[in-house]
């Protein structure tokens, strides 16, 4: 009996030593990744020119801001705002609908979802029945 137990123990020891991979080594890891957000930039270099075809409209041009942003063109009749009229575009140029006589002030800002940039520089045009300057 004692011999049998001893022999069985010996077999167990040998089998264990000879097969360490039988154990399953598992662990875990924790930590973090990081990410940074960009900043939406105001358009620059806004200029305006008159277009007298099909009524008096104003064509605006500006330098691009972020490549991933669109633009909101805004205008009104008060220098510095408010600018109650607006239109959206993905281009860096925009022509307004025909405007009635008056002095108009224009700005452009970049937009992507809820991200809005500051206004560009302001430009203006004076529209009269016969001229646009």
């Amino acid at each position: 009996m004692r011999a049998t137990i001893a022999f069985a123990l010996a077999l167990f020891v040998v089998s264990t030593l000879g097969n360490p991979a039988a154990a399953s080594w598992a662990s875990s890891a924790s930590g973090a990744a990081t990410a940074r957000a960009d900043t939406i930039v105001a358009p620059s270099g806004l200029t305006s020119s008159c277009t007298l075809l099909l009524g008096k409209s104003v064509t605006l041009n500006w330098s691009p801001a972020n490549s991933w942003a669109g633009y909101e063109v805004r205008w009104g009749t008060s220098s510095g705002g408010p600018y109650p009229s607006s239109a959206m575009t993905t281009n860096t140029t925009y022509s307004t609908p025909a405007l009635s006589s008056g002095t108009y002030y224009f700005v452009v800002r970049a937009i992507n979802g809820a991200w809005l940039s500051a206004n560009s520089n302001q430009t203006s045009k004076i529209i009269s029945p016969l001229t646009c300057s």
Partner: protein
């Protein structure tokens, strides 16, 4: 005379048998006894550290980031899965929690591929893993120019 000889033979046989049994027992005893030495190492948890950061996220953007996972153990390992990550809420200005996320790397019992294609992390070495990161299209204006930390966990097993 003959009887006494017979008795002697029987006695000798018995003695021999006992001696042999003892020897066998001794043999078994010596074979079965002794000490075994086995070295075992408890598994050590790993650390996930940022490597390259997704730069210049904007609403709706999808980009890549990489993380480094180390193997402090004395045996090679594979990373079997990496959890999804989600940014915490930021204040001043407000940027809602979950504005930036990373996709989970689905579980693979054979191990996830590192950025270079290998699966196994050598003992006391590290591996680099690529994750897809996204900014919500509805991310608020307060999320501009911010740095986001995305907590992650991973499961690791010994390399087959």
């Amino acid at each position: 005379m003959l009887r006494s000889r017979r008795i002697a033979v029987v006695a000798l046989t018995v003695v021999a048998a006992i001696a042999l049994a003892d020897a066998a027992q001794a043999f078994w005893t010596s074979f079965g006894s002794g000490s075994a030495a086995a070295q075992s190492s408890a598994s050590i948890d790993s650390i996930i550290a940022p490597d390259t950061s997704a730069a210049d996220l904007y609403p709706g953007a999808v980009m890549s980031v990489t993380v480094i996972i180390d193997n402090p153990n004395l045996y090679p390992v594979v990373v079997n899965s990496i959890s999804a990550g989600s940014s915490e809420a930021l204040t001043s200005p407000v940027c809602a929690a979950g504005s930036v996320t990373t996709d989970a790397r689905p579980a693979d019992p054979t191990g996830l591929e590192q950025s270079g294609g290998a699966k196994i992390i050598a003992p006391q070495s590290s591996g680099t893993y690529t994750l897809t990161t996204r900014m919500l299209a509805t991310a608020g204006n307060g999320c501009q120019s911010r740095t986001f930390t995305l907590p992650l966990t991973a499961t690791i097993t010994a390399a087959p």
